[in-house]
């Protein structure tokens, strides 16, 4: 406990269940959109951000760029339903540490967040992982 995870997704139900799943292990903060997430990031630095790519208003990639300019070392996992290699590369080039495609299960996302929250581990060779 103690690690703070910011969840940014426009779907309130998905955000709620994701928060419930991660809430048993981490301190969870939710943002319903990019603007809200950026406003939070200006005030505070979480240990990890779970960021939806497709959102109304600011897109996930825009939020990612803004987040990295505010906190260059911040670990950001992108969540998306689009299995789009171009987008994945773009996110990784912008500094995302991981790229997770929906649908994913609770154990996978818990493990990923725990792994990446525990600091910069050994570098993974693969550019991104596809959820099981």
């Amino acid at each position: 406990m103690g690690k703070t995870v910011l969840i940014v997704d426009d779907d309130p139900d998905l955000r709620h269940v994701l928060a419930a799943v991660l809430g048993t292990v981490f301190r969870v903060i939710q943002a319903s959109g990019g603007e809200e997430a950026v406003a939070f990031l200006r005030r505070s630095r979480p240990d990890m951000v779970l960021l939806d790519v497709t959102m109304p208003g600011m897109s996930g990639l825009e939020v990612l760029a803004e987040a990295k300019s505010l906190h260059p070392e911040l670990a950001v996992i992108m969540l998306t339903s689009r299995q789009d290699a171009d987008l994945a590369l773009k996110a990784l080039n912008l500094g995302a540490v991981e790229y997770v495609t929906k649908p994913f299960d609770a154990a996978y996302i818990r493990d990923e967040v725990a792994r990446l929250c525990s600091g910069p581990g050994p570098k993974d060779d693969r550019p991104w992982r596809i959820a099981p």
């Binding site: 139900d13 799943v21 790519v53 109304p56 897109s59 689009r82 929906k102 649908p103 609770a106």
Partner: protein, 375 residues
């Protein structure tokens, strides 16, 4: 080829006339032995391409007439009248043939454009639907985990929340499937618009009666603001059914209990159109998001998307309207409500009577929540 869209017909016909006058002048000032006739094909082609078929034929006749006039008046040898007639007929047939060919090519171009539009719509919808599916499936998967793991004093409350989330995820998936089936209908060619004369009030009533239970449970009042006389419009009935169920469905989904949804048919003065509007007192859409809502989900390719929940349905509606030359207009104030409206060409309702009818004292149908049996 986009030029054809941007040039107005009168301007294009005027340009074709100008070309004709130049060709004719050239014909008059050059020696008779010099054959200028093929140049007359130019204005015929122009008029047909930019002003559609019949104007091409008008130009063909005009070209023949002008050519004949010069041939009769300017020919010093004055051959027999049958020679003039024969030449005129042969020229006319070549000009008409030119118009027919250009018209055919132009029609094929338009068909190709429609096909491309349809396939773009289809691939947009596939990515939209897959996005909706992936979101709902993630929600389902995580919710099931929570249900399995829920223990402790708050478990029951958490479970109740999960059931509500599962219900919503189910409804969302159901909507996605419905719109996906609509996509299949588009693919099958049934949504290439086939305008017919449609009884507007009857169609809207049938859409509403199908939604009966959802409307009753919503706690939102439905008000119908229709004129007393029947309203016949020229549109694709299948497309209109999808559009109305999406717009009315959205209005109910995003209006909290105690609110009101109004479906209205109005007649703006001086134009032969009916304006159909679905207005709610719901959550509304921020002004900055109107364009995003209207422009569709992935269209802009910049990662911007529509406001939450206005995904596939609104986009399908908008595209279906645009494929028929109409457009979806959005007025909305966050927290106060939204109004989605579009216009449809009137078929037979006399405009003068229509314009007088509803604007001052519109005849109102039930103000209370509407049930299928009082439609």
């Amino acid at each position: 080829m986009k030029l054809a869209k941007n040039v107005s017909r009168p301007a294009a016909f005027a340009a074709a006339l100008l070309v004709l006058s130049l060709v004719w002048t050239l014909d008059v000032i050059t020696p008779h032995q010099l054959n200028i006739v093929p140049l007359y094909l130019l204005p015929v082609g122009l008029a047909t391409w930019f002003c559609r078929g019949r104007w091409g034929y008008v130009m063909a006749v005009l070209c023949t007439a002008l050519w004949l006039w010069h041939d009769v008046a300017g020919n010093v040898l004055s051959p027999h009248w049958s020679v003039h007639t024969w030449n005129a007929v042969s020229h006319l047939s070549v000009f008409v043939l030119m118009a027919a060919m250009v018209e055919m090519i132009e029609r094929m171009r338009r068909l190709g454009e429609q096909e491309r539009e349809m396939s773009r719509l289809k691939s947009d919808l596939i990515s939209l639907v897959s996005h909706e599916f992936a979101n709902s499936l993630t929600t389902l998967k995580l919710t099931l985990t929570i249900l399995r793991e829920a223990t402790g004093p708050d478990a029951e409350a958490e479970r109740q929340k999960c059931y509500a989330i599962l219900d919503r995820a189910y409804a969302h998936l159901n909507d996605s499937v419905t719109n996906f089936l609509n996509l299949n209908r588009i693919e099958a060619g049934r949504f290439v618009p086939h305008p017919k004369t449609v009884h507007l009030r009857t169609l809207i009533h049938s859409v509403i009666s199908r939604m009966g239970p959802a409307i009753e449970e919503s706690g939102v009042a439905l008000r119908l603001d229709f004129p007393e006389h029947s309203v016949m419009v020229q549109t694709d009935p299948d497309a209109l059914t999808v559009i109305m169920s999406n717009l009315i469905g959205n209005a109910f989904k995003y209006t909290p209990p105690g609110g009101q949804v109004t479906v209205s048919i109005k007649f703006p003065d001086g134009v032969p159109f009916a304006r159909v509007a679905v207005e709610d007192t719901g959550i509304g859409i921020a002004t900055g998001d109107h364009a995003k809502v209207a422009s569709g989900f992935y269209r802009a390719e910049n990662g911007k998307s529509v406001a939450m929940g206005f995904g596939v349905g609104l986009k399908v509606s908008r595209d279906l309207l645009e494929s028929q030359g109409s457009s979806l207009e959005i007025e909305s104030t966050p927290g106060k409500g939204s109004k989605f409206s579009f216009r449809l060409p009137l078929q037979s309702a006399p405009l003068s009577a229509a314009a007088q009818a509803p604007s001052t004292a519109p005849p109102r149908l039930p103000e209370a929540p509407l049930h299928a049996d009082n439609l």
